[in-house]
């Protein structure tokens, strides 16, 4: 595995430290700007930034499984969908308040991750990736075809009270709190025994087992944590949109987008997923706004260029201090 592989373990997963001036000051400025933003911005931009937080949080959850543990979960959207459906069913049919409904909805995904863990986490690489895609697609079809779940018609959640502006502002702060919490979890992972065990599994699973790490147990724990984090976001999303249906919340495109964000930012880094989400959502907002037709073409071309020129993500570009020479040298070294 080459040194620049986005899946390789780096000495310090926190590549930002030392690379950008005084990072604490920048972080404080970032948080203050984010907190004050809804007071000055229009509804459209509040929505864009809320999306950044949401997809950043999803990418951060995926990061636990893919970036740290090295297991390519392409079906993590299944936990998003289950969280959304759990929340929708518990609020509309059982009449539960939103907060316990979101937590219980996320726990549905945790149960699924526990059940699937033993048979599926034996699989490596591609095979695990494809199995998770299979689970996602099968889950969507089953939910779409069982009348209890609302079938293809979807489910409408109870309408929230209060003015729309206040509601969207509330969602903004909730999603901001969620991504901050997830960044905290990832930071903890980067220096806890648990996180070291996960990175040891990614580097070499046999070696990790020889060193005394109960690999199966740790992998299942990581998947549960990832599933729970994704499920919380799914529940908030359902509450935010008030209406969900299987093709929306079990969409494989969500998985692809979250992967793209994680790789754009840098897999296995602490702030990478947030930066990845900022880059991709801003790009989309600009491209969608400028080009009514052909925006998929431009997005696709941007993806191709990004993958070829910055395969290790934005955080790696920061480490290289945005040197064009380093980028081109890597490009030549990677070519076969």
């Amino acid at each position: 595995m080459s040194r620049r592989s986005p899946f390789a373990v780096r000495g310090s997963p926190d590549g930002v430290r030392g690379a950008v001036g005084p990072p604490v000051l920048l972080a404080v400025i970032g948080v203050v700007v984010a907190l004050l933003f809804p007071a000055v911005a229009t509804g459209y931009w509040i929505r864009v930034v809320s999306n950044i937080f949401m997809y950043g949080a999803m990418a951060q959850s995926l990061n636990i499984m893919a970036g740290f543990t090295g297991y390519a979960d392409f079906g993590n959207t299944v936990f998003f969908g289950l969280g959304a459906y759990g929340t929708a069913l518990l609020t509309s049919k059982a009449g539960l308040p939103v907060v316990p409904a979101v937590v219980l909805g996320a726990l549905v995904g945790v149960v699924l991750a526990s059940l699937m863990g033993l048979p599926l986490l034996r699989l490596r690489g591609h095979y695990f990736a494809i199995a998770t895609i299979g689970v996602l697609e099968a889950a969507r079809e089953i939910i779409a075809n069982v009348p209890f779940f609302g079938g293809g018609m979807g489910i409408t959640l109870p309408i929230s009270t209060g003015a729309p502006e206040a509601f969207y502002g509330f969602i903004y702060y909730v999603l901001f709190a969620v991504i901050m919490a997830y960044i905290g979890i990832t930071w903890w992972l980067s220096r806890s025994k648990f996180g070291y065990a996960l990175r040891a599994i990614k580097a070499d699973e046999e070696a990790a087992a020889v060193m005394g790490i109960h690999t199966t147990r740790y992998k299942i724990r990581a998947w549960r944590l990832s599933a729970f984090c994704t499920g919380i976001v799914g529940g908030i999303y359902a509450y935010w949109l008030n209406f969900i249906e299987p093709p929306i919340v079990f969409d494989i495109m969500i998985s692809i987008k979250v992967w793209l964000i994680m790789l754009l930012g840098g897999a296995g880094t602490i702030l990478g997923p947030l930066f990845g989400a900022i880059i991709l959502e801003m790009l989309q907002a600009v491209i969608w706004g400028q080009f009514l037709r052909g925006h998929m073409l431009i997005l696709g071309a941007v993806i191709v260029l990004v993958v070829i020129f910055m395969p290790a993500g934005f955080m790696d570009l920061v480490r290289k201090r945005f040197s064009l020479r380093a980028v081109l040298a890597d490009l030549r070294a990677n070519k076969i």
């Binding site: 899946f7 599926l120 089953i142 793209l260 052909g294 993806i303 191709v304 076969i336």
Partner: protein, 291 residues
């Protein structure tokens, strides 16, 4: 299951085999999860459609044309784009080919518009009767071409120098390099072969389904299932995988209900992966997982 649905399942499996074999080849040999496969199928279908519309060429005779044009595109994609990231890891190639398929599909939307097109040769819809079951000519033709292409690919891989180089690369990249195989070129040739097979599948699918820029998307999902069922990079495995999927979907539609067809195919996929990750007929050492 009655005779008609058995035959339907087998013939559907022939179509699926054509769809899956090129995808499985590229994945197994070059370690590239080629998400442009569906888009290449779509372009192959458009080549066939325009050959039929403008030149009056029969869709089955247009297969070589579709294969040749997709092979050129496929070689270029691997040589000038994918070869730059293939060493970094399989998931980068996945994101790259995802971006590329957006470009291809959106370009097709620009060039051909989103109109539903169809290829209608004179024998469309005709068939013969076999013990009470109707067998459409087109489906039996597709089944035969699928068998023929699998056999030709097998001959190519077994008896030509390039084919041997491809197999050597699939087994051990470094060792192949040591004995003088140019990996960059071999990967591109493999991708070209996979693309040509996608083109052939597209040419044949154009006689069954409407030709649109997004027609390849559902086929991509099937290709995943078929490749895993058969074992990655295994040619005859893809044929078996296609047949199993075709039969399972037809049987499932008859027994549980047609709306569960997708759930069945993906449930089957997860089951196979959990029990036999090397595929139904795959060997363990072939196309080992490389991350």
């Amino acid at each position: 299951m009655n005779l008609q649905s058995l035959i339907n399942g087998l013939l559907l499996g022939g179509v699926y085999a054509c769809v899956g074999i090129g995808f499985s080849l590229v994945w197994g040999v070059a370690n590239v999860i080629n998400l442009t496969h569906g888009a290449l199928i779509m372009l192959g279908a458009y080549v066939t459609f325009w050959a039929f519309r403008l030149g009056g060429i029969d869709p089955f005779l247009a297969i070589p044309l579709a294969m040749a044009s997709m092979a050129v595109i496929g070689y270029a994609i691997q040589r000038f784009l994918v070869n730059y990231v293939v060493k970094i890891g399989v998931f980068m190639t996945l994101i790259l080919t995802f971006g590329l398929q957006l470009v291809l599909i959106d370009s097709a939307l620009f060039a051909f518009t989103g109109d539903y097109r169809s290829v209608t040769p004179s024998y469309a819809g005709a068939g013969f009767d076999l013990g009470g079951a109707v067998i459409p000519y087109i489906r039996i033709g597709i089944f035969a071409v699928g068998l023929l292409l699998t056999w030709l690919l097998h001959l190519f891989m077994t008896y030509t120098k390039t084919g041997n180089a491809i197999r050597a690369t699939a087994l051990n990249k470094e060792a192949a390099q040591l004995v003088g195989v140019n990996i960059g070129h071999i990967y591109a040739v493999t991708f070209a072969l996979g693309a040509a097979l996608a083109g052939a599948a597209g040419a044949m699918l154009s006689t069954l389904y409407a030709v649109t820029p997004v027609m390849g998307n559902p086929m991509l999902g099937k290709a995943f299932v078929i490749a895993c069922l058969g074992g990655l990079g295994n040619m005859w495995g893809s044929l078996v995988g296609g047949l199993v999927l075709g039969l399972a979907e037809t049987a499932g539609a008859g027994l549980i209900g047609p709306s569960f067809q997708q759930a069945i195919s993906f449930g089957l996929l997860v089951l196979i992966l959990a029990i036999r990750p090397e595929g139904i007929v795959g060997k363990k050492f072939f196309a080992e997982v490389k991350t």
